[in-house]
């Protein structure tokens, strides 16, 4: 146990419960103190003259069938905030996995503190002070804040009994919480905290292991705007302490506000680096999307005017916001984008449309007639299909073959006298495989071995084989590589052009704006507004998403 002072405004005292890493820590302490001081005196000079804390050189990583990262290089200097942006599937998560030591790059070097490595192990990553704050928080809701921060490294007392020293735990946690600007105490149960507060706990955890680089993976994607501001303040505070930050976000305006430099990834390659002066929204989008733009423009062109309302919700109340009825109608032949923050009730609405969840009130109508759904089977019987958000858990059965997955919702049609005909299954599957361009050795291939994009195509295929009336897609391109993404946009447009009502739930702003014919935005369980094509803009969607009126 030892004490360390870091200069941050008024000097704060931090107790560090790190045992067994003393020697390495001493050097780091000196380094950190130094950079802290420098930042304090003159941040801009300090940053530019310091040697990089971390640098990547020509990193390449391939997965079967996909090049996830291709000759990627970047460096991170102490006290620098780097915005890392790129489309889903651009290689951000692979990069994070490499930095976290979870995967090994095929080629390339990773230099940490001037020491070059072929690869990082998880221990090396943690040991060199790289900390992650993931989009999905890894907190124990049943424990309090202090216990979460020091989980697995609790200060002990009573010698061999190894009891947790609760009082000390709280005194250790308090200064960390102060550093992240927390307005709650160390003994607050995590279950009572808001999302932003939980994120602060995660950051405090990162600080407690003496992080020198904090990687924030989409930290704001589920935060309301006011809380986001708080988080951005925390990032600035980290920077002022000389801690580097990699800030991954789809919300480009936030990146613009906080980043010193923006690194743009596209198709696993470095698409460009923007210095602070050149960081602006349009530049980032241009670098991010590249050729994607054309595909999207094509998907955005509707071949037919929308028809009558196919599926509609009348004052439907869902479990997300039981006291807020929602009204929404999807028209034949249109792609209706459903935007909104995570947790705004979009997925619950989709689950009601698909009969998985029963509505707490209100009514559904299909083609103007009342519709009662007791189960997903009822929805399927009515031609309402859902491509769910969680592909692996609910979209497909990983252990079944492509053909078996595709025939599953319509098995009686592939059977003679209750006996399944493998031949009929293969015929249907072959046809879909051809039409959708599913890349697999054969239709007997286990779907678990396919890439995300091809798995998603299998999910689509099982519904396309059955003449959909209404197709609901929940985050259809999440975690899918860019080529497959374009194909899925094309498929959605083809469906709409064939007269199917398409409802696309998406948190990917560019996707919503690029593909939809109309955009409905959800805010706290209700539709806060519907935008027509000429009103489309990121700003309008965001304003509606937080419950304000568009301009």
């Amino acid at each position: 146990m030892r004490r360390l002072e870091v200069r941050f405004g008024s000097a704060a005292r931090i107790d560090e419960p790190c045992e067994g890493r003393q020697s390495a820590d001493v050097a780091r302490t000196a380094h950190q103190l130094l950079s802290g001081v420098m930042n304090y005196s003159d941040a801009s000079i300090g940053v530019s003259t310091t040697a990089p804390f971390l640098s990547l050189e020509g990193v390449r990583k391939t997965y079967p069938g996909v090049v996830a990262l291709d000759g990627f290089s970047m460096e991170v200097r102490p006290g620098e905030v780097i915005g890392l942006v790129g489309e889903n599937g651009a290689g951000k998560s692979t990069l994070m996995k490499i930095l976290g030591g979870v995967t090994t790059p095929d080629t390339g070097t990773i230099t940490v503190d001037g020491v070059a490595h072929d690869r990082l192990t998880v221990e090396a990553s943690i040991g060199s002070g790289i900390a992650f704050v993931h989009q999905e928080l890894n907190l124990f809701e049943n424990l309090d804040v202090a216990a979460n921060i020091f989980f697995g490294r609790e200060p002990l007392r009573a010698g061999p009994l190894r009891l947790v020293d609760r009082a000390r735990l709280r005194t250790l946690a308090a200064p960390l919480l102060k550093r992240v600007g927390a307005n709650f105490s160390a003994d607050t149960p995590v279950s009572t905290l808001s999302l932003a507060q939980q994120q602060m706990v995660e950051i405090a955890k990162a600080l407690s292991i003496e992080a020198r680089l904090v990687i924030l993976d989409e930290p704001t994607s589920s935060l309301p705007l006011a809380e986001t501001d708080k988080l951005l303040d925390v990032i600035r505070a980290l920077k002022a302490e000389g801690i580097s930050v990699i800030f991954i976000s789809h919300r480009l305006h936030e990146v613009e506000r906080v980043a010193d430099r923006v690194v743009v990834l596209r198709d696993g390659k470095l698409a460009g680096t923007l210095p602070k002066s050149a960081v602006n929204h349009d530049q980032m989008v241009k670098l991010m999307i590249g050729r994607m733009l054309k595909q999207r423009e094509k998907a955005a062109e509707s071949a037919r005017p929308p028809g009558t309302v196919a599926l509609s919700a009348k004052a439907i109340r869902t479990s997300a916001y039981p006291d807020r009825p929602v009204d929404l109608g999807v028209r034949q032949g249109e792609i209706l984008g459903l935007a909104g923050l995570v947790g705004s009730g979009r997925t619950e609405l989709a689950r009601v449309f698909f009969g998985i969840e029963t509505s707490l009130g209100g009514a559904l109508q299909l083609d103007g007639k009342d519709l009662v759904l007791g189960s997903a089977a009822d929805a399927v019987a009515n031609g309402i299909f859902l491509v769910p958000e969680d592909r692996k858990l609910t979209g497909i059965l990983l252990d079944l073959s492509i053909a078996q997955n595709i025939s599953l919702p319509n098995l009686p049609a592939h059977a003679r006298r209750f006996l399944v005909s493998a031949g009929a299954e293969a015929v249907t599957a072959e046809k879909q495989k051809r039409n959708l361009g599913i890349k697999a050795p054969s239709v007997a291939t286990r779907t678990g071995t396919l890439s995300g994009g091809n798995q998603q195509k299998v999910v689509l295929a099982k519904w396309l084989a059955m003449n959909p009336k209404v197709m609901i897609l929940d985050e259809p391109t999440r975690g899918i590589d860019i080529g497959a993404k374009a194909e899925i946009y094309g498929l959605m447009r083809a469906l709409a052009d064939a007269g199917v009502a398409v409802l696309m739930i998406s948190s990917d702003m560019e996707e919503v704006i690029g593909v939809s014919d109309r955009i409905a935005v959800m805010h706290e369980g209700q539709i806060s507004g519907i935008l027509d094509k000429e009103q489309f803009s990121q700003e309008n969607v965001l304003l509606l998403a937080v419950g304000k009126q568009p301009r």
């Binding site: 391939t62 997903a376 089977a377 990983l398 599953l408 919702p409 098995l411 006996l419």
Partner: protein
């Protein structure tokens, strides 16, 4: 027949050969016929259990149901003078209703299968003992049911009819499990119930049907057991039978997580269990060690199978990586 089943068959033959060499009485027709009879009785039970396990559930009340329905069946035909062609279907319906009740509690009220059937285990045993006032249900001296006895305890060409019944049921259930739409649904639900639901399958009904099948088959085996022992003391009759059934399924390659296993596997599992019982008797191993031998063999069997699975997975991974690398360089 899968590789797994083939491995089990070889194990059965090897153990059989070893036992036969040490004690040639193993191959006497009388011994084989007796063992075949027991295989028939326990096999029917195990097939029922297999249908529940494939959905990821478990049915622990089997032994108690064998006792309760056995007591009822003997009582119906021996003391209440019910014609056996009436009593037999009635017992099957009762078994089906018990299964339906379990399935309903599990799928509609979302109770855990373990809990529901554990309560069943206790309840049916208690009811069976209460019904006979803890007495023994049996036939009066000289009471005969020639046709029923032929069908249950009789032999055709030296083969016990119970074993023939098992073969017939096994063939039918093999088609149901491995070829029918219902069977595919069972596998799909066992693998991933959520995904099956999202594919528009009425998972509740399918799972309930699995428990009904288990109930009916258990009822059938209850009749066979009753006619085999001819007298039933409800306090001990059928005790641990659920574990024999579960053990047979596990030995046969079923995963208790659901979604895995074959009908041939569960039959072979039953055969191996009965062979082990027989081995304990024939090799003069103290019969008190009976359960220990069984437990040991099952543990080893599952361990070997699991390790083999790990090995195969790793090989597949390596292969996939190699292919992926080759594919990447070709691009």
């Amino acid at each position: 027949m899968s590789k797994k089943d083939l491995g089990l068959l070889i194990l059965i033959l090897v153990v059989g050969a070893v036992v036969a060499i040490i004690n040639p009485r193993f191959l006497l027709p009388i011994n084989l016929a007796n063992t075949a009879n027991l295989i028939g009785l326990f096999g029917i039970l195990a097939i029922g259990q297999a249908f529940v396990i494939i959905t990821g559930g478990i049915e622990l009340s089997v032994g108690s149901v064998v006792a309760l329905l056995g007591v009822l069946f003997v009582d119906f035909i021996a003391t209440r003078d019910m014609a056996w062609p009436v009593a037999l279907p009635l017992i099957l319906v009762l078994g089906g209703m018990i299964g339906l009740a379990h399935g309903w509690l599990i799928t509609r009220l979302k109770l855990q299968p373990f809990v529901v059937t554990l309560c069943g285990l206790l309840i049916y045993r208690g009811v069976a003992r209460f019904y006979t006032a803890d007495g023994t249900a049996g036939f009066a001296f000289g009471q005969n049911f020639p046709e029923l006895e032929f069908l249950t305890a009789g032999r055709s060409y030296g083969v016990p009819n119970s074993f023939i019944a098992l073969i017939v049921i096994a063939i039918v259930m093999w088609v149901v499990l491995h070829r029918s739409v219902f069977g595919r649904y069972l596998y799909a639900i066992g693998k991933n119930e959520e995904a099956a639901k999202y594919s528009g399958i009425r998972t509740g009904r399918v799972v309930m049907a699995a428990y009904v099948i288990c109930g009916v088959l258990t009822a059938l085996s209850a009749i066979y057991f009753a006619m085999y022992t001819r007298s039933i003391s409800p306090a001990s009759h059928g005790q641990f039978y659920e574990l024999y059934a579960i053990a047979a399924a596990v030995l046969g390659g079923f995963s208790l997580r659901g979604g895995e296993g074959s009908l041939i596997g569960v039959i072979l599992g039953t055969v191996l269990l009965q062979e082990l019982q027989n081995l304990v008797n024939l090799l003069g191993i103290p019969s008190s060690l009976n359960f220990a031998v069984m437990g040991g063999v099952i543990l080893i069997g599952v361990l070997v199978d699991q390790q083999w699975g790990v090995y195969r997975e790793r090989r597949l991974m390596l292969e996939a990586t190699r292919k992926g690398m080759a594919g990447a360089s070709a691009e």
